[in-house]
């Protein structure tokens, strides 16, 4: 893949995410093709599309988990595929469609682990659990929680620090209506602090309620 010429840290106005004709093949199968996407500080973007359109792969590329096989891209000013990519990961918040919790640990222990690893006190875990309405559930093992509670706790992870780039994959999946303000708060908080949000969902109408603009994705291409 070709890389963008800029390797400098992004200025206030430069894109936090900049993908140009980006392609990804997984095990020889093209998943993303000629994707274009730009996300500046203070922006929120939704990507809508049917199952298998490549939305989650796009999110994985922006989260720096998957290296593109064609085109060029940069996240937080660092070209994708560069050896410096791991250094920007601490500034990315990501919530996939499966909660990243340890089933044998309590919700409190799960959040405390994330907090302590990212340099916050363990009590920060308890604080963010309270923010998502799970203050009383901190002592319950994740395996004994409902899917909705696990999703809430997973979103709470993103509230521990102040990630400049927040990536959400079907954030409302498994959540009830009462949890919608959590997603809204997370997005508004990131935007207010000069970060950016990229959110993918199969439901364009829902996305438009959360983000500034929505693009469609079909057969691995953004339109």
């Amino acid at each position: 893949m070709t890389r963008p010429s800029s390797t400098q840290p992004p200025s206030a106005g430069s894109p936090l995410v900049d993908l140009v004709d980006l392609s990804v093949s997984l095990s020889g199968t093209p998943v993303l093709s000629k994707c274009r996407l730009s996300l500046r500080p203070g922006e929120s973007l939704g990507v809508a599309g049917p199952n298998g359109a490549g939305k989650s792969t796009l999110l994985a590329v922006v989260a720096t988990f998957v290296t593109p096989t064609g085109g060029s891209g940069a996240v937080l000013g660092t070209p994708l595929g560069s050896p410096r990519i791991p250094a920007v990961r601490a500034e990315i918040g990501w919530s996939g469609h499966l909660p990243a919790l340890y089933p044998d640990l309590t919700l409190g222990e799960n959040l405390a682990l994330s907090a302590r690893l990212s340099g916050h006190p363990a009590s920060r875990g308890q604080q963010v659990l309270a923010q998502v309405g799970l203050a009383g559930a901190a002592g319950i093992r994740a395996e004994r929680c409902s899917n909705g509670m696990r999703r809430r706790a997973d979103l709470a992870r993103l509230l521990i620090g102040s990630p400049r780039l927040v990536l959400l994959d079907e954030p409302d999946a498994g959540l009830d209506q009462d949890a919608a303000p959590i997603i809204d708060h997370l997005i508004r908080r990131t935007i207010r602090r000069g970060g950016a949000v990229l959110c993918v969902s199969h439901d364009a109408a829902k996305l438009s309620g959360w983000v500034d603009r929505v693009v469609e994705m079909r057969d691995g291409r953004t339109t």
């Binding site: 990961r89 996939g96 499966l98 909660p99 990243a100 919790l101 640990l105 222990e109 690893l117 340099g119």
Partner: protein, 225 residues
């Protein structure tokens, strides 16, 4: 500011030990099976007490290796891709993750290996040689080596369909120097010789594995995400 190397390693080790303690698999599943396995030789062969005593040490190390592999590889298989991705986004140093996971596995393995001496003494009428307490550091060094090797083998085979069979196949031959060093230490002790050479050999093997684990941690993490 992110947690430093040793603090991160400690947090990961604590996580794994908590998970192990709560699932109780090493204690309630692997250990009883290891005890049964150690009982098979005396039960099946009807061997003379003298022969059984000769078999005790090799059987002990063989069982430690086989069931140790189960413990270590099971621990490495527990992490899901989503969990690995979330950890990477905390800014966790992959080398600290390797150190923490190996440390936790090594502790569990050392405890199981230490306790396995009891059934071997009972079933094989084994008389530990004088100065057998010197075997404690040998067991710890062997457990640490096996833990690091298992963590590496688990990471190398992440995402492969044949992982459950490939990881032990990868680990077993590479574990031979560790098991040999540990077994030879015991032999030297029985013969009344110094075990320092074998202990040093184990230390060198452990250092080599630690270096390999730390140096390959970043590349293996990228593959696993």
């Amino acid at each position: 500011m992110r947690a430093g190397f040793w603090r991160s390693a400690g947090l990961i080790a604590l996580r794994d030990l908590r998970v192990e303690l709560r699932s109780g698999e090493a204690l309630t599943v692997v250990f009883p099976f290891a005890v049964v396995a150690s009982w098979i030789a005396p039960l099946a062969t009807n061997a003379s007490p003298l022969l059984l005593r000769d078999l005790a040490a090799p059987v002990y190390w063989l069982i430690t290796l086989l069931f140790g592999m189960m413990i270590v590889l099971r621990q490495t298989a527990l992490e899901t891709r989503a969990q690995r991705r979330a950890l990477a986004l905390t800014g966790l140093d992959p080398a600290a993750r390797f150190a923490g996971r190996s440390g936790a596995s090594g502790l569990v393995l050392a405890a199981v290996a230490g306790t396995l001496i009891l059934p071997v003494i009972i079933f094989y009428d084994y008389r530990p040689p004088s100065g057998a307490t010197l075997m404690a550091p040998v067991i710890i060094l062997a457990a640490a080596g096996l833990a690091m090797l298992g963590t590496l083998a688990g990471d190398v085979t992440i995402g492969l369909r044949a992982r459950t069979s490939l990881a032990p196949l990868l680990m077993a031959p590479l574990a031979v120097p560790l098991v040999m060093g540990a077994a030879q230490s015991l032999e030297s002790l029985v013969a009344g010789k110094s075990i320092i050479t074998w202990v040093l050999a184990l230390v060198i093997a452990d250092l080599g594995l630690a270096a390999a684990g730390v140096m390959s941690a970043r590349a293996l993490e990228e593959i696993s995400l």
